[in-house]
């Protein structure tokens, strides 16, 4: 089992994802430079980390989708490889067409960094066979408000592609606990095949006891269990 963490210029959660994969979970892990064009066949899971690829000056992920590594990632996805995009990684997956929908500016227009609760809506993906149904995971973004038209929302629902939704600590989903105004409180979705996941919350930020919360680790553990 081998993980790859993609580095775009402006990625800033690359070291965090690498640390959790390699040092916390003990998985062999490589950094992958965005200009690389080699096939990714030696990897079992690709992590596209958070950050501000190309400064996010145009639109988050809009320039990153032109990086050479994106075509290898698409090929990897077509072959059924696991890909998890976190925060800016989610934005990049949407811009590259590996997932459907858009992420727009948070409802309050500000960057928000805080702990939120998410409910696991679909436990049947490689990423979400978690012990708990409700996870406490921090968010840290300015453009995290998920949006799509009604037909796509219906499709996401009927295909069980909605994996995580914002909720309160008891699992109740209300507008009050929807931190960024996301449609249907969507915090994470997958593709139809279920091998590509995008999520706004940062599981790598809560995978160690010293940080006071290990809920995020359950997502990585789910991936490892699936691959083992």
């Amino acid at each position: 089992m081998k993980f790859g963490v993609v580095r775009f210029p402006g990625s800033n959660c690359d070291d965090d994802c690498y640390h959790v994969a390699k040092n916390v979970l003990g998985i062999e892990t490589d950094y992958l430079w965005h200009k690389d064009t080699k096939p990714l066949s030696e990897y079992s899971c690709i992590i596209i980390p958070g950050g501000f690829s190309y400064g996010d000056y145009l639109r988050p992920g809009a320039i990153a989708k032109f990086s050479p590594i994106i075509s290898s990632i698409k090929e990897f996805a077509d072959k059924g490889g696991l890909i998890i995009g976190i925060c800016n990684g989610f934005q990049i997956l949407l811009e590259s067409g590996l997932l459907e929908g858009v992420l727009i500016r948070n409802k309050n227009l500000n960057f928000i960094c805080k702990d939120v609760y998410i409910k696991v809506e679909n436990k049947n993906t490689p990423f979400s066979k978690t012990e708990k149904n409700i996870l406490k995971i921090p968010i840290a973004h300015k453009e995290g408000c998920f949006y799509c038209d009604e037909s796509l929302l219906n499709k996401l629902k009927s295909n069980n592609q909605i994996v995580f939704r914002y909720c309160d600590e008891n699992g109740d989903i209300t507008e009050k606990v929807n931190p960024n105004g996301s449609l249907y409180s969507i915090a994470g979705i997958c593709n139809e095949k279920g091998n590509v996941l995008g999520m706004m919350p940062h599981p790598e930020r809560c995978s160690e006891k010293i940080l006071g919360n290990e809920d995020g680790r359950q997502i990585f553990q789910s991936i490892i269990d699936y691959l083992s």
């Binding site: 210029p9 402006g10 800033n12 959660c13 070291d15 965090d16 640390h19 959790v20 040092n23 958070g50 950050g51 501000f52 190309y54 400064g55 996010d56 000056y57 500000n110 960057f111 928000i112 960094c113 805080k114 921090p138 840290a140 300015k142 940062h202 790598e204 930020r205 160690e208 010293i210 940080l211 006071g212």
Partner: protein, 735 residues
């Protein structure tokens, strides 16, 4: 080129005698480029000409200090092969003129100061001061500064984990934006700003040079404001955090190798200060061909190129023969990197432009022999008038509950989550104690260590008594760090004052510096870096003296960190330290009665030292569950914070002897810490307090749904929590 006259020199902010000295040094009149170079290097901001004689009073050495003042940042050893580099800097004037870019480039500048030493920045703090909340510009400035810090820090991926925000009318015309950053470096991988080795290539890397920020340091930061200050907006630089992120990663990659002899960021005074200071430290000269400097627009003159403060640029002195290796790394990160010159042995800064020499100045005269002023100082008249408080003449309030609620909803005391939730305070996954406790704590991956940091300054205290105010700033930041379980080790400071040419301002400065120096000596926490910001005056009205202190402390075992809030019901609440009933200088007097009067609280630094040592010993023995420093708002506010800032809301029932209730509840006596513990540990805690000769007072127990203090205070803690956490939102919603 037209003749340089005295008038032109004065327009550059130089004094008559300074212009004469330039002519004496050169043996001729300077040309415009040379005049520009002298004017920025001899500006107050770059030369510390008014402050230097006093800054020498600071203790700067200790066995753990690797680098003291004089470099881009101070460095201390934290053990296990690692060191931390840190510094605080002001960006006050630019932030007042253009809050978003001013604050953003403040962050960018301090981060470069850290990574130029070879350290990866891993945490920032921001100490911000604004005018009165109701002042028409305050909200605009607050929103602009906070989003400027957020957008820059978040993008580059350095967590902003704490700081402070105060509002006071003394800042109506001059806000303060003091930015602190701390970086981690392996002890054997530290780099310096040093242009050694004759013939070594000088390499320019990063953003192209544009016309922004010219004279930012000399005309903007080294003069008072007046009604025309808006016109100075073009002197504010524009930040590009993405380019800085590339520059950071490229530099850190470069530092893995042995290709360079020195590196320095182009901050204030840009290419001028970086080249001159590096050559100055090495005792060498530098030759640069300005035609090679990457430019943002055509037709820039040598004067503009040398004085531009365009952001995200660094100057590197590489080892001869390794140029290509250096250039290759920057190419990988899509950054400009160009050889612009070389190190010489003649001791001159020599500049070529259009094939001709356009400036030639002896380096040591611009760097080391800048003018130094021992400016006259005089105790201002106001000091006597404001230090005659008759405590007993202050009436007791009818309802102490109402006062406590008002104080908790006061923006100077209320929770700052509106601010810190806009900052990414978790990226790099080291933040062990998040914003909202006494000090923020980060872990150092791969070691057992933790680093705690806190920035503090009560400027009202400093106004009323600058020397004692300076001592208190150091003691409070040390206490905050200790309240997180860390041992205070060293400080950096940012000394914000009015116009130093006025004797009463110079007196405030001298007194504050002496206070800080004395406290640092006794607490054994040397000053390793810092910054002075003068001329914080508008139309002749100065700010309160504001010497902001940022203390850095070390936890040998990060698992032993503590937080301020109560953890369990039925724990014992103890006050360690002296419960004096002092009211002078308090937030209570200022906010409720609009009285700004001293005497400010007493401070005994030796007592403070014993208190900190006692607290750390209690914590290291696992005896305490929480620790919280008592500061603005006094005992009552501190107890409320213990009840409402944790995950669980826990009430408290407290009984203590009081003489003057308002002073007991809301007075701000120093060297006091509220701790909570299991009843079974109480005797051991008392033994430690006795051993260090520290006062120990059992206050009561935790539990219930109210905060009760004698028969004075009895309020539901949910109500307190709502007031405390919603004050900022409510203020910003109000139109």
């Amino acid at each position: 080129m037209s003749e340089i006259t005295l008038e032109v020199a004065i327009e550059h902010g130089l004094k008559v005698e300074e212009f004469e000295k330039i002519i004496e040094i050169l043996g001729r009149k300077p040309n415009l480029t040379e005049l520009g170079i002298f004017s920025v290097m001899w500006s107050e901001h770059c030369s510390y000409k008014s402050s230097r004689v006093h800054l020498k009073k600071f203790p700067t050495k200790a066995p753990w200090v690797i680098q003291g003042p004089g470099e881009n940042a101070g460095i201390i050893d934290i053990g296990e092969g690692y060191a931390v580099a840190f510094k605080m800097e002001s960006h006050n004037h630019p932030s007042f003129v253009e809050p978003y870019q001013g604050a953003a480039t403040g962050v960018g500048g301090i981060l470069r100061d850290i990574f130029t030493m070879g350290a990866r920045p891993i945490a920032s703090l921001d100490s911000l001061r604004f005018g009165e909340p109701d002042n028409e510009r305050t909200k605009y400035l607050l929103k602009g500064v906070v989003s400027g810090i957020a957008d820059y820090g978040n993008c580059i991926g350095v967590p902003t984990i704490g700081g402070e925000i105060y509002f006071d009318k003394c800042y109506n015309g001059n806000i303060l934006v003091n930015v602190f950053s701390l970086g981690l470096v392996k002890k054997d991988k530290i780099f310096y700003g040093y242009a050694g080795g004759v013939g070594n290539p000088v390499i320019y890397v990063g953003s192209k040079t544009g016309r922004d920020g010219i004279h930012g340091c000399s005309l903007l930061a080294s003069d008072e404001f007046d009604e025309k200050s808006e016109e100075k907006r073009p002197t504010v630089q524009v930040g590009d955090p993405f380019t800085e992120k590339l520059l950071l990663e490229a530099c850190l990659e470069l530092f893995q190798h042995d290709y360079i002899v020195g590196i320095q960021d182009m901050g204030a005074a840009g290419l001028t200060s970086s080249s001159v200071e590096m050559a100055g430290r090495a005792g060498t000269g530098i030759f640069m061909d300005l035609d090679k400097v990457p430019l943002r627009e055509k037709g820039m003159t040598p004067y503009e190129i040398m004085l531009s403060e365009s952001q995200e640029r660094m100057l590197i002195v590489a080892k001869k023969g390794y140029e290509d290796k250096v250039l290759e790394i920057f190419k990988k990160w899509d950054l400009d990197a160009v050889i612009v010159g070389h190190v010489t042995d003649d001791g001159f800064l020599t500049l070529k432009y259009n094939g001709e020499i356009c400036a030639k100045i002896p380096v040591k005269y611009i760097s080391d022999e800048a003018p130094v002023y021992n400016r006259p100082y005089e105790k201002p008249d106001y000091i006597e008038k404001v230090n005659n408080l008759d405590k007993n003449g202050i009436p007791e309030p009818d309802d102490y509950n109402e006062i406590l609620k008002k104080l908790l909803g006061n923006l100077n005391i209320a929770n700052k989550k509106w601010v810190y939730e806009q900052y990414d305070h978790m990226v790099r996954i080291n933040t062990v104690v998040l914003p909202g406790s006494d000090a923020a704590v980060i872990r150092i991956k791969g070691t057992k260590k933790g680093v705690a940091m806190s920035s503090d300054c009560n400027s009202r205290f400093c106004f009323l008594n600058p020397k004692r105010g300076g001592m208190i700033a150091v003691c409070e930041s040390a206490r905050n760090v200790a309240c997180s379980g860390a041992r205070p080790k060293a400080i950096t400071d940012c000394l914000n004052f009015g116009n130093p040419e006025k004797p009463e301002i110079m007196w405030q400065f001298k007194e504050s510096v002496e206070g800080i120096a004395e406290a640092c000596k006794i607490l054994d926490t040397p000053v390793v870096s810092g910054n002075v910001s003068f001329y914080n005056e508008t139309s002749g009205v100065p700010i309160y003296p504001t010497p902001t202190v940022a203390m850095v402390g070390i936890l040998d075992d990060v698992n032993q960190h503590i937080t301020q809030w109560f953890k369990d019901e039925n724990d014992v609440i103890v006050l360690v330290g002296k419960q004096n009933e002092e009211l002078g200088g308090s937030e209570y007097l200022a906010y409720i009665y609009n009285i700004i009067k001293g005497p400010i609280p007493e401070i005994d630094i030796n007592y403070e030292k014993r208190l900190i040592n006692a607290l750390l010993e209690m914590n290291e023995n696992g005896l305490i569950k929480s620790a919280h420093d008592i500061s603005e708002g006094g005992l009552a506010v501190a107890l409320a914070e213990c009840c409402i800032t944790g995950k669980k809301l826990i009430g408290a029932k407290v009984e203590l002897n009081v003489e003057k209730a308002s002073a007991a509840l809301f007075g701000e006596s120093q060297s006091r810490i509220i701790i909570s513990c299991d009843e079974s540990n109480l005797n051991k805690i008392k033994e430690i307090a006795d051993k260090y000769n520290i006062d120990f007072l059992r206050l009561g127990v935790t539990g219930g749904k109210e905060l009760k203090i004698n028969n004075l205070i009895n309020i539901n803690i949910i109500e307190l929590k709502e007031i405390y956490f919603n004050a900022f939102d409510n203020y910003l919603k109000k139109i």
